[in-house]
């Protein structure tokens, strides 16, 4: 029998979408039953009490979690989010209910062996409840007590070869789309870059050295399946520089209706017969495509690699072969001064292991930001404060028209003294010799 009555939550067991309430109840029941005789290291009724406190929130419309305080593992400044319930007497099972962020493997692939080990560990030392995955990408383990943190860390590193993720003013756990493992659009080895950077910057990931959090995300192409441009302080997006490869036979097959456009992504509605003009050529934002008879032509110099045509005709069109990535700086959520999208700072850079060129840039950036960033100032905010050019300078990047969407509309250029002939040191006497007062 359930420990707490949850009439409101029970309503969320209805409907077709997988019910998290049912899932928590399942976990609760399993713990009560304890078919495998696990020696639970935290209260058996942790899931029951979670349901209880959640029902309370559903009743009074307020959260019942308190600030975490500083909990964590020795020597690390992140990876654990402390959390306490503000009704510990009523719900002792969740009196402590800390979150552990476990660094996910790049691309979110698992073997079941590994997954089961994770499950065993977490069932044993925590609530058994997880988020697969957190918004940043971690495996998020929901709810354990302070004494278990070191134990979990020990087993994780010793038995599962796996480390904690980031939190606090650290580098956060990098994430990538699935990239080359299963996607033909990937211009770079997104998973590998993500993994490599994760390993390279372990120290930053675990020890707060920054003014605030910092996120890397890697998208294999401009489709942006890991949303790096919106959700990471430094976003890597794969690109090609040369020509889109065209299979003219396949183009004909699309025109002939033999292949469904966009891989069949729209097949749930009758959108009419495929029309290459209407669906591809006219929708190309740069207008750089046209048909010559049965042949599709692209003026690649004018293409801005938006991916539309390739997405629409995946069997006929392929990304180019001279690949690399763009780097965009400073995306963040709206707190405090409004949201920012990543700003292009490097239009194109080679992206091959060991990524030396990229790391050089990252290190210049880190150094500058650690020096100049204010407390709780995201790097995008620092960039806004010091100006984009300053960032380019610090990173020793070329000034390229591509970094702006449009040039400035105001004439307020901050010339430097050395740029202006004659310098700034002028004498009023000299001026007055030409201009009487």
């Amino acid at each position: 029998m359930a420990k707490h009555k949850t009439p409101l939550l029970d309503e969320l067991e209805k409907g077709p979408w997988p019910s998290f309430v049912s899932d928590i109840k399942r976990e609760a029941e399993s713990r009560t039953k304890n078919a495998n005789n696990v020696e639970y290291q935290i209260p058996v009724d942790v899931c029951e009490d979670l349901l209880g406190v959640l029902e309370l929130s559903y009743t009074d419309g307020e959260t019942h979690w308190k600030h975490g305080g500083i909990v964590g593992v020795f020597g690390y400044g992140g990876g654990v989010i402390g959390r306490y319930c503000d009704q510990p007497e009523q719900f002792p099972g969740v009196a402590h209910f800390h979150t552990v962020r476990v660094n996910q493997p790049s691309g979110f692939y698992y073997s079941t062996d590994f997954l089961k080990q994770l499950c065993d560990l977490w069932e044993f030392r925590g609530s058994g409840l997880t988020n697969m995955h957190g918004s940043t990408g971690d495996i998020v383990w929901l709810g354990t007590t302070t004494p278990q943190l070191e134990e979990i860390f020990y087993e994780l590193t010793h038995k599962l070869d796996t480390d904690l993720g980031g939190s606090g003013s650290n580098l956060r756990t990098p994430a990538s789309c699935l990239g080359m493992s299963r996607c033909q659009y990937s211009c770079i080895d997104a998973q590998d870059l993500c993994h490599d950077l994760t390993i390279e910057y372990q120290d930053f990931l675990h020890r707060p050295a920054f003014p605030y959090k910092f996120k890397f995300k890697v998208d294999g192409c401009p489709n942006g399946c890991v949303a790096s441009i919106a959700r990471s302080d430094l976003s890597f997006i794969g690109l090609w520089k040369d020509n889109i490869r065209i299979d003219q036979e396949a183009v004909k097959a699309y025109i002939g209706g033999e292949i469904k456009p966009n891989a069949g992504a729209h097949s749930g509605r009758d959108w009419g017969k495929f029309d290459i003009n209407k669906e591809v050529i006219d929708l190309c934002p740069t207008n750089c495509m046209w048909m010559e008879g049965n042949t599709l032509k692209i003026n690649d110099k004018e293409c801005n690699h938006c991916m539309h045509c390739i997405n629409a005709l995946p069997r006929a069109l392929r990304i180019g072969e001279e690949t690399g990535c763009a780097m965009l700086l400073g995306a963040k959520a709206p707190i405090l001064d409004g949201a920012q999208m990543g700003t292009l700072i490097v239009p194109f850079i080679k992206c091959e292991a060991p990524y030396t060129e990229i790391k050089d840039l990252i290190e210049k950036l880190f150094e500058f930001w650690m020096e100049e960033g204010k407390n709780r100032e995201r790097v995008g905010e620092t960039m806004k404060r010091v100006g984009l050019y300053k960032i380019l300078q610090v990173m020793e990047l070329e000034v390229d028209a591509r970094v702006v969407q449009e040039p400035r509309t105001n004439p307020y250029i901050f010339w430097k003294e050395e740029e202006v002939p004659g310098g700034w040191d002028r004498q009023i006497e000299d001026y007055r010799s030409r201009h009487k007062m």
Binding site: P18, V44, W65, Y109, T130, Q202, A265
Partner: protein, 383 residues
């Protein structure tokens, strides 16, 4: 329950300590067909909603079945996923960047049995455990956050609102009849961990009452200057307060009319709670953001519903408004057109009309200088 040590010795924390090893290498986890064809994929097809086929240069094929997930899942469910993956997929499985689960098989024949197996599994109370869908021009899983399940700043619940909305949009998850992909996100406060700021449709928990000052606690556990500095609108100033018991404490005063309910002060100082279950807290709805660079640049979402009350357990008003927007988009947009592209094409003034939403003054940006750029500087509008 006895405490069982992992081997960790609190007296010698550095003994045998392993640190900074990062995650396991992802190649250890790839199914063989992916490993063999790594970087050699040619194209893909969506065979039916939720089922993808990727073709490699070698001629190999991989079939992926994508299933929905509540994200919040216990290890029992993960074990069940493992069981399925062991049975059908050679012991491999993955999650997507939107919390869905993907089962992959290397042969078309394996698709049918896997599909059948997945759909046969339901929770006792009736919901699917593994609904198939989330591909192509449809709705996929909603990115979301902790809500009342775990976060101290949540102004609404995450899992519950998502469940209610996904139940309503279930048919859009299992079909591909929208003009383009429609990506929803949820965040339980304006910190927006769910990255609602660039979603086709997002809903965000938020507060509407300035913090209550817990003077006694503040003096005990917070730094006044930090609390003052936390406020982006300078609504907080230091003050001294006489408590009922006669003691004088250092605390802060809030200039209520300057407060924009962002909660940053509460993040910095727990003695400044904002939560209000009596009509203050609720959600806003934002729409028209996107992340992909396809055709048009990534865009921020715009606030189109200034307030939806918290109505647990099933948030009917929220569900209804989201539904209205999806319906209007579905019938109004052109093929390939994302929601924000559609709204811009028809004009936001028309958007409110066709979605039957009210435009209120709250939707006029008045935050900082760039607000100006969102006002209209042209006569090009529609009557």
């Amino acid at each position: 329950m006895a405490f069982i040590s992992s081997g960790y010795d609190p007296k010698q924390p550095m003994k045998n300590r392993i640190t900074d090893i990062g995650p396991k290498h992802f190649k250890d986890f790839l199914p063989p067909v992916l490993k063999n064809n790594y970087g050699k994929w040619l194209y893909h097809e969506i065979l039916e909603p939720g089922i993808l086929m990727h073709k490699a240069e070698s001629g190999d094929e991989v079939y992926t079945i994508r299933v929905g997930s509540p994200r919040l899942m216990g290890v029992q469910t993960i074990r069940e996923i493992c069981e399925i993956a062991d049975k059908h997929c050679g012991g491999h499985v993955r999650w997507t960047t939107r919390h869905n689960v993907e089962f992959m098989v290397d042969n078309k024949d394996k698709v049918g049995p896997l599909k059948e197996d997945l759909l046969s599994r339901k929770h006792d109370a009736g919901s699917y455990k593994f609904p198939i869908g989330g591909t192509g021009a449809g709705v996929t899983n909603i990115i979301h956050t902790q809500g009342w399940v775990h976060c101290h700043t949540a102004a609404s619940d995450a899992s519950g609102t998502v469940k209610a909305v996904m139940d309503d949009l279930f048919e859009e998850f299992t079909s591909m009849r929208l003009p383009a992909p429609l990506r929803l996100s949820m965040a339980c406060c304006v910190n927006m961990c769910g990255a609602v700021h660039c979603s086709d449709i997002g809903f965000v928990g938020y507060h509407r009452k300035p913090p209550i000052v817990d003077h006694f606690t503040l003096d005990n556990i917070c730094e006044v200057p930090l609390a003052v500095a936390a406020c982006p609108t300078a609504a907080i100033r230091p003050t001294k307060v006489d408590l009922p018991d006669g003691t004088k404490v250092n605390s802060v005063a809030i200039k209520n009319e300057r407060c924009m309910f962002c909660g940053n002060c509460y993040t910095m100082c727990p003695a400044l709670p904002l939560s209000d279950g009596k009509g203050g807290d609720g959600l806003i709805i934002m729409v028209g953001g996107k992340v992909s660079n396809r055709r048009s640049n990534p865009k921020f979402s715009k606030v189109v519903v200034d307030f939806v009350p918290n109505e647990p357990p099933r948030w009917p008003t929220l569900v209804k408004k989201v539904h209205q927007i999806v319906e209007a988009y579905s019938s109004g947009a052109r093929k390939y057109e994302r929601l924000g592209e559609w709204a811009e094409r028809i004009g936001w003034e028309r958007f409110f009309e066709v979605c039957d939403l009210e435009f209120t003054w709250h939707l006029i940006d008045d935050f900082r200088d760039p607000a100006y750029e969102t006002w209209r500087q042209t006569t090009n509008f529609k009557f």
